[in-house]
């Protein structure tokens, strides 16, 4: 045993529901979270691709920014175009550091009188401290600890939502509104992390289980754990913070340049702006790419990527089995010269080099409305 103090993991408002459903609970980002339910990761993955899945993502940080000029103040920390974000619209962006590295990635929603941020569980304490230390005194940073976050994802998600909240079902992708869902007052976003159409529903902690049970009463919906959440997002080519992106990778290297508007590229005014401007002009030295092993052996995170001469050129940052792809898939960083889809590379799994090809992302076509 290690000498580490046994700090009990935090529980989300849906903890009892997970246990009641027979979930296998594991520690994740300081929380006791369901990695899978009795049917298993493969079935949960297919359920989400074919019908609809309910995910507890209450461990993520929900933060409210309020005050005059909140959008322009936040722009000093992120390269995303927040000033141009219309009320009811959502934008994906990143907190950057002076080197252009990524401190965290986040979703920002303009709710008119405030900005609503959703940040990663593992980064939220640091993000909130960063916001409080960096934003001017007139901007309040409120950590919404008393709210749960439930994702409903899959091709049937909108059909289900239409029964519980016609207003939420009418939302366009990457937009959000305050809606009543099954009688509960919620903040609903049409967004997600699976490559499927879907919603993320922020609800008061004490109403979360009632709402989750109401959604699970719908025949199309089943509970999905973190295991399938990971295989779904990997097939969708979506980055996982701390794995595919971190303080040492820039948004340009990670293929996230689409999230930086023309105005922000020109004007800068965020940490690392000069470095990102140069990368955008000259191309980053390395790029995050999809990797498709030719055999069936999965290449896990940390697997070395080698070129035709056997030289190590990079590492896998996420890798596993893609149930919809029906084979192993991975993502990792390679030098610019090897980043073209179709380029042959090798993946060193347990000392043996396996042939693989650079693949375009996503592995599975996105199905947003």
């Amino acid at each position: 045993m290690s000498a580490e103090a046994a700090t009990p993991n935090a529980r989300t408002p849906l903890h009892a529901l997970h246990v009641a459903q027979g979930a296998k609970m594991v520690p994740f980002a300081g929380y006791d979270m369901p990695v899978q339910y009795p049917t298993g990761i493969l079935a949960e993955h297919q359920q989400t691709r074919a019908s609809a899945g309910l995910f507890d993502v209450s461990h993520m940080g929900q933060v409210r920014l309020r005050g005059l000029g909140a959008a322009s103040a936040l722009e000093r920390l992120v390269p995303g175009d927040i000033a141009a974000l219309a009320p009811g619209r959502i934008r994906y962006t990143q907190f950057t550091n002076a080197q252009g590295g990524i401190l965290d990635d986040l979703m920002v929603t303009n709710f008119g009188d405030h900005l609503f941020l959703v940040v990663n569980a593992g980064c939220k304490t640091r993000d909130i401290a960063h916001l409080r230390a960096s934003l001017p005194a007139g901007i309040s940073v409120e950590y919404l600890e008393d709210r749960a976050l439930i994702a409903l994802q899959g091709p049937k998600a909108a059909e289900v939502m239409a029964r519980l909240s016609p207003a939420a079902a009418a939302l366009a992708f990457m937009s959000a509104a305050s809606c009543h869902v099954g009688g509960e007052t919620c903040l609903v976003s049409r967004s997600g992390y699976t490559g499927e159409d879907g919603f993320e529903i922020s609800v008061a902690a004490e109403r979360a289980e009632t709402l989750a049970r109401r959604l699970l009463d719908e025949p199309e919906v089943k509970s999905i754990g973190l295991g399938a959440r990971d295989s779904l997002r990997l097939e969708a080519g979506l980055c996982l913070y701390g794995h595919d992106i971190d303080e040492t990778t820039t948004p340009v290297e990670a293929g996230l340049a689409w999230s930086i508007s023309k105005r922000r590229r020109t004007e800068g005014g965020f940490p690392g702006a000069e470095i990102l401007r140069r990368e955008l002009a000259e191309g980053a030295k390395r790029r995050l790419v999809g990797l498709k092993p030719e055999g069936r052996a999965p290449a896990r995170e940390g697997t070395e990527i080698v070129d035709a001469a056997g030289q190590v050129v990079g590492k896998v940052t996420s890798g596993g089995f893609g149930p919809t792809v029906g084979g192993p898939i991975a993502m990792g960083y390679v030098p610019k010269a090897l980043a073209q889809p179709g380029t042959s590379v090798g993946l060193v799994v347990r000392g043996k080099t396996h042939a693989a090809q650079v693949a375009s992302l996503p592995f599975v076509k996105k199905r947003y409305v």
């Binding site: 298993g40 295991g227 990971d230 069936r296 052996a297 999965p298 089995f321 192993p328």
Partner: protein
């Protein structure tokens, strides 16, 4: 036929000096959906406790340790195309490899079925 289990959840079924090895029903349940199995090369000499095979679920890769010493005489060809056999029939069609035992007495240190059942119940 003698069947024994290791504390690492491998099973070994022995007829004479020929032994078939796989992972237990309990182990496959703990791993979840198996998506890849790497079996040892035929002819490889394995020592008891040596990492002999790898079983990968959607989530992670796990080593399979040889419950006895011997030389690999056969591997299950079906697992390459259908690794899910390990979930469907872990102690039958989902076998991993066969060895010719070099020291059959090693089996004495392993658990029989009732002992293994008690062992697994103690893990819950």
């Amino acid at each position: 036929m003698t069947k024994r289990y290791s504390e690492d959840h491998e099973w070994i079924s022995v007829v004479g000096k020929e032994a078939t090895i796989g992972i237990s029903v309990y182990a496959q349940g703990q791993l979840g959906d198996v998506v890849f199995v790497e079996v040892p090369e035929i002819g490889r000499k394995l020592a008891k406790g040596e990492a002999a095979a790898v079983v990968e679920s959607v989530k992670a890769a796990s080593d399979v340790y040889s419950p006895a010493s011997g030389t690999v005489s056969a591997v299950n060809p079906a697992l390459a195309e259908d690794p899910a056999k390990v979930n469907a029939d872990a102690e039958g069609e989902g076998w991993f490899y066969k060895i010719t035992l070099s020291d059959p007495k090693e089996l004495d240190g392993l658990m029989d079925e009732p002992a293994y059942k008690t062992y697994v119940e103690g893990l819950a």
